[in-house]
Amino acid sequence: MKILVGVKRVIDFNVRVQVKSDGSGVVKDGVKMSMNPFDEIAVEEALRIKEAGNAEEVIVATIGPKACQEQLRTALAMGADRAIHVQTDEEVQPLTGARIFKALADKEQPKIILLGKQAIDDDNNQTAQMLGALSHWPQATFASEVKIEGETATVIREVDAGLETLSVDLPAVISVDLRLNEPRYVKLPDIMKAKRKPLETMSIEDLGVEHVAEVKVLKTVAPAKRQAGIKVDSVAELVTALKEKGLI
């Protein structure tokens, strides 16, 4: 059984994102880039499923420019077996991304596709669900626990009301939440080893995926800033202030 995992290159979660003054987007030059934190968790989960004897191969895939290979190498160093780079310099939106993953799934025939619940740059939270729809596969989103038994997966999902458990037949798409696991640290020898692991490059056209009608970003601006308030010196002062505002 194969597992396919999505790995997206995004601005590191520690960076304070700056919006460009001309409204054309955010500053990306010279900014630290990393693997989407949710995708690290997805890679880790795939490796654990394999280590438990429930899968033979973990394939990681990314869609994006040449530089994304850096994140593929990180995933290979974590322990993935091989990587696929769908190379494009254009912005890929979730519907196109899902179509690309569908084409990869048709080619590779994985039993499980693990994606992050959301990419922390665009925060769309769409790709896994769209892929589920296009493949007519079950979806189990926002997973905080995944159990594989034969041809089914039992998934605990973090939802607004608490924890929901779904049982789905494989093949299935699973999107992972933050509490699923803690990704392993990559050791230096693994980084060396990862350099020799197979990394295949292809284009969106090679996969026969056409661009669909997309969302146009007209402008990007900085959000309205909250006014910094005041420091109070005592609980009494705080209580007075809140009472004046009618809040307590």
Partner: protein, 312 residues
């Protein structure tokens, strides 16, 4: 005629407050009609509640035993069958809507606009990106618009409507590949729902333990407030996941938000940007939470809670 269809969120008995907020967003579109669809096993009580939301034209009630629990793979094909009559289909951007709507959109070959926070025109919307550190104005392509509504950006529509309720049968074959097993609720007890609460008391890693969280609960109960938490507090097992506030938890907009022992990471702040008044109690004067707090108090949180309880 352009009409918008809003997907109701409910638990079989009660309509979730996020639905009336999504209806507010739908009103801003200024279209000819707003319909709400209730997909349920037995949904007449929920449909009656939806009919009271001001601005709603018709409530469609689609009953099917498969709708007992909100499983996206079952709900999506039914919504797709209804979508043909509409120019827009919206759902709240809660875990319910986030799970469901992209599945609907992809089947229909449409992109989705996630987390709509402002309607500029029928196809142009503002939405937050980068944990709310940037706001993008995006234009959906011509034709059907599928979107989720950032509920913290909208006040709930009033409760003075009298829409008609119409039972609809939707003939679609549902998949057999997914089974609902159970829902274990986090156990917020009788406290107000975090996303609807007008006051929220929140605790972070600084609270120190599950045991210590009783101080947070006790203050919340005194104030009639909901209880929130940072990711660090949830990860450490101090409190269940459904209390997490932030980029990957709940986005909330209470009138009063009180943060105890929370440092104010960007991912946490993403969840409270729309709060009316933010109060922060932290023993570190340099904690970033003070940059957004209306009232900051540098002090030990346990001492402050004790004094507050006495003062209230």
């Amino acid at each position: 005629m352009s009409k918008v269809l809003v997907i109701a969120e409910h638990d079989g008995t009660n309509l979730n407050g996020s639905t009336a907020r999504a209806v507010s967003c739908a009103s801003d579109l200024g279209l000819d009609a707003i319909d709400v669809v209730v997909l349920a096993a037995d949904g007449s009580a929920v449909a009656e509640q939806a009919a009271k939301i001001s601005g709603v034209t018709n409530v469609l009630l689609v009953q099917n035993p498969a709708n007992e629990n909100a499983v996206a793979a079952f709900l999506a094909p039914q919504i797709e069958a209804l979508a043909a009559d509409y120019s827009h289909v919206l759902a709240p951007s809660t875990t319910f809507g986030k799970d469901l709507m992209p599945r609907v959109a992809a089947h229909l070959g449409r992109p989705q606009i996630s987390d709509i926070m402002r309607v500029e025109s029928s196809h142009v919307f503002d939405r937050p990106v980068y944990a709310g550190n940037a706001i993008a104005t995006v234009e959906a392509p011509e034709g059907l618009v599928i979107g989720t509504v950032r509920t913290a950006s909208y006040k709930a529509a009033a409760n003075e409507g009298s829409a008609s309720v119409e039972t609809r049968s939707v003939e679609v074959t549902l998949p057999t590949h997914t089974r609902f097993v159970e829902l274990a609720s986090g156990g917020g007890g009788d406290r107000p729902d975090l996303q609807a609460a007008s006051k929220v008391v929140s605790g972070g890693r600084g609270v120190g333990s599950e045991e210590n969280f009783k101080h947070i609960y006790s203050l919340a109960d005194k104030l009639g407030a909901g209880v929130g938490a940072s990711r660090a507090a949830v990860d450490a097992g101090f409190i269940p996941n459904d209390h997490q506030v932030g980029q990957t938890g709940k986005i909330i907009a209470p009138d009063l938000y009180m943060a105890f022992g929370i440092s104010g990471a960007i991912q946490h702040l993403a969840g409270i940007k729309d709060a009316g008044t933010i109060v922060a109690i932290n023993k570190d004067a340099d904690a970033p939470i003070f940059e957004v707090a209306d009232y900051g108090l540098v002090a030990d949180l346990f001492e402050v809670i004790e004094e507050l309880e006495k003062a209230l």
